[in-house]
């Protein structure tokens, strides 16, 4: 069963001059994780805001757990959790205060709200800091508390909008651990990210979006295959660059990429390790000793590059999209 469905969503700002969503389609199978991957301004946040009932699209249809998001937003709000890139909690209050407040807003009784707060603080290793104001928390702690607040009523569907943006590597690792635990619990998760590694790590399926529409989707493996198989990469000293390029041309037959700065020559190969051995042999015959040589499966960066023809560039449109018309003035 598809728990999240978005069909042909359109949303534009500034009288149509900025298209945040341009016919976006996606769906998420129950109990799975969809990673929505794209650069800033691709429409990730706008997508989440539409699905989480915060924004009306200009046209299109969306359902969450079978409920029409546009017609019955109140019903949708009862079963979703949303955690964004900003830690949307009251920084003046303590972690405990925040969880109680949100618990009460989810219409738990005072007693239930307290019990749930105790559980969540424990689950997210925040028990010791429960009585401290949020503004004294580290970035990672804030983000965990924010996530905890979105899990108060054990939502069926969870939206995480760039859950690790701005976290240090350790904070990111912690967050990944927490998210993986949640997914084991059976929640359906839509997560946006601009980190290709993150989508690779957390998501069952990945939807790559650019300019407000999905330009490719599939598992990380299928996407990588779409780009082509493995690449042979050789790093040599400067004086051997030209000779090495010739060798790679013999082995590969595909488009050769030369990175002068990295002194790296790379090209797609179809024969895997055979190509690697062949190249090594030819280098040896010429007396060239590579500084590095190996086969690399394409990264999602490569996927993005080959799908869009440009690297995952930053645009300002996402800001524009998320703050609406005001910023356009």
């Amino acid at each position: 069963m598809k728990t999240i469905i978005a069909e042909d969503l359109h949303k534009s700002y500034n009288k149509g001059s900025v298209k945040a969503l341009d016919g976006l389609n996606l769906d998420v199978e129950e109990g799975t994780v969809l990673g929505v991957l794209g650069p800033n301004g691709a429409g990730k946040t706008t997508t989440v805001r539409v699905l989480a009932t915060l924004l009306m699209p200009d046209s299109g249809r969306a359902t969450v757990a079978g409920i029409d998001v546009l017609k019955n937003p109140d019903e949708v709000r009862k079963i979703i959790g949303l955690s964004g890139q900003y830690a949307a909690v009251d920084e003046t209050l303590t972690g405990w205060d925040n969880l109680i407040m949100f618990g009460r807003l989810y219409h738990l009784s005072a007693k239930q709200a307290k019990e749930r707060a105790v559980e969540l603080l424990e689950q997210f290793s925040l028990t010791d800091s429960a009585k401290r104001p949020i503004r004294t928390y580290s970035g990672g702690m804030r983000r965990r508390l924010d996530l905890a607040a979105s899990l108060i009523v054990k939502p069926k569907v969870l939206f995480l909008d760039e859950p690790t943006t701005g976290l240090d590597p350790r904070g990111r690792q912690d967050m990944w651990g927490v998210i993986n635990e949640l997914v084991k619990g059976g929640v359906t998760l839509l997560l946006t990210t601009q980190y290709l590694e993150e989508a690779d790590h957390l998501a069952d399926e990945i939807a790559v979006i650019d300019h407000g529409r999905v330009i490719a989707r599939g598992t990380s493996d299928t996407l990588k295959k779409q780009v082509g198989g493995e690449r042979l990469e050789i790093v040599v000293e400067n004086q051997h660059m030209a000779a090495t390029r010739e060798i790679v041309a013999k082995v590969s037959g595909g488009a050769i990429n030369v990175d002068e700065g990295l002194r790296q020559i790379s090209a797609p190969v179809t024969t895997g390790s055979k190509a690697l051995i062949e190249a090594a042999k030819l280098l040896d015959e010429k007396g060239i000793h590579p500084l590095d040589i190996g086969l690399k499966r394409p990264s999602l960066d490569d996927v993005f590059l080959s799908l869009t023809g440009h690297v995952a560039e930053e645009k300002k449109d996402e800001d524009l999209a998320s703050t609406g018309k005001k910023r356009g003035r």
Binding site: I80, L82, A88, D97, M101, F102, L105, Y106, P133, K326
Partner: protein, 263 residues
């Protein structure tokens, strides 16, 4: 019923903030008290009111009204901050009443006004303010002030949800309220103003509120009313009309805005 209990949870959040950071209350009180003392002693000596008890009797209602009018600044800045931090989005993703957050906020700001007015009243008393109308009228006067603050707060909701930065909210509300409080009978007689300004001052809700409160605190309003205009003759009635008008316009607009904020 959920709409009310949801709003009260938001109000409680605000009161909890005051409890967690008592400086918030302290600084909400210091400014109005400072105004009372400054006006009382800086202008008080040079303005002859011709009434028993002197300038402070006329000043206090003026400064009460000014203070509650500025409630909208606190409301606006608070909401802009919530919006910037993503809290408004989080609230909007919850299954709560669509008006709970803004009602809770205006009620919370109203509650803070109770403390502020009390502190000002005590300060006023210390520097010579003596309402002469009896407990009932004085209480009614304060209720009047609180409702006016509540009404003004709704203008603050609209401003707060319409700007993107706290600093803009601060400046926008200052520009909105400051002329309103000075183009009035709150601190000086309107009779000294150029004729066109006098009309504006007489119809200004701040003036009718001030005149109404002076009445309720047992004074004749000597700081205007020369034109014999309707608002000067019926300040209480006119104030009630203004409060109803403000709320009738700004509550629906604010709730609508809240449900459409893009951040």
């Amino acid at each position: 019923m959920n709409a009310i209990s949801d709003a009260l949870i938001i109000t409680k959040r605000q009161l909890l903030q005051l409890a967690r950071v008592p400086e918030l209350i302290l600084f909400s009180i210091i400014q109005p008290i400072m105004f009372v003392l400054l006006f009382r002693y800086v202008f008080g000596g040079s303005i002859d009111t011709g009434q028993p008890g002197g300038y402070v009797q006329l000043l206090m209602p003026g400064i009460f009204v000014q203070t509650v009018a500025f409630t909208l600044a606190g409301t606006a800045v608070g909401l802009t901050a919530d919006m910037q931090k993503g809290l408004i989005s989080r609230f909007r993703s919850l299954p709560i009443s669509r008006s709970a957050v803004v009602f809770g906020r205006t009620l919370g700001d109203g509650a803070l006004n109770v403390v502020v007015l009390l502190a000002m009243g005590i300060t006023g008393y210390v520097v010579g303010w003596r309402p002469t109308s009896g407990l009932l009228s004085v209480t009614l006067g304060f209720v009047f002030l609180l409702v006016f603050g509540f009404a003004m707060s709704w203008i603050g909701v609209l401003i707060g949800l319409s700007v993107r930065e706290e600093r803009v909210a601060t400046n926008a509300t200052f520009i909105a309220v400051f002329p309103l409080t000075f183009l009035s009978n709150a601190f000086a007689p309107t009779t000294g103003m150029p004729r066109p300004l006098q009309y504006i001052a007489e119809w200004n809700p701040v003036s009718t509120m001030v005149a109404g409160c002076r009445e309720l605190f047992g004074l004749k309003n000597e700081f205007g009313a020369t034109a014999g205009s309707f608002p000067s003759d019926n300040p209480l009635l006119m104030s009630v009309i203004y409060m109803i008008l403000i709320m009738a316009v700004f509550i629906p607009l604010s709730v609508r805005k809240y449900n459409r904020v893009s951040k």
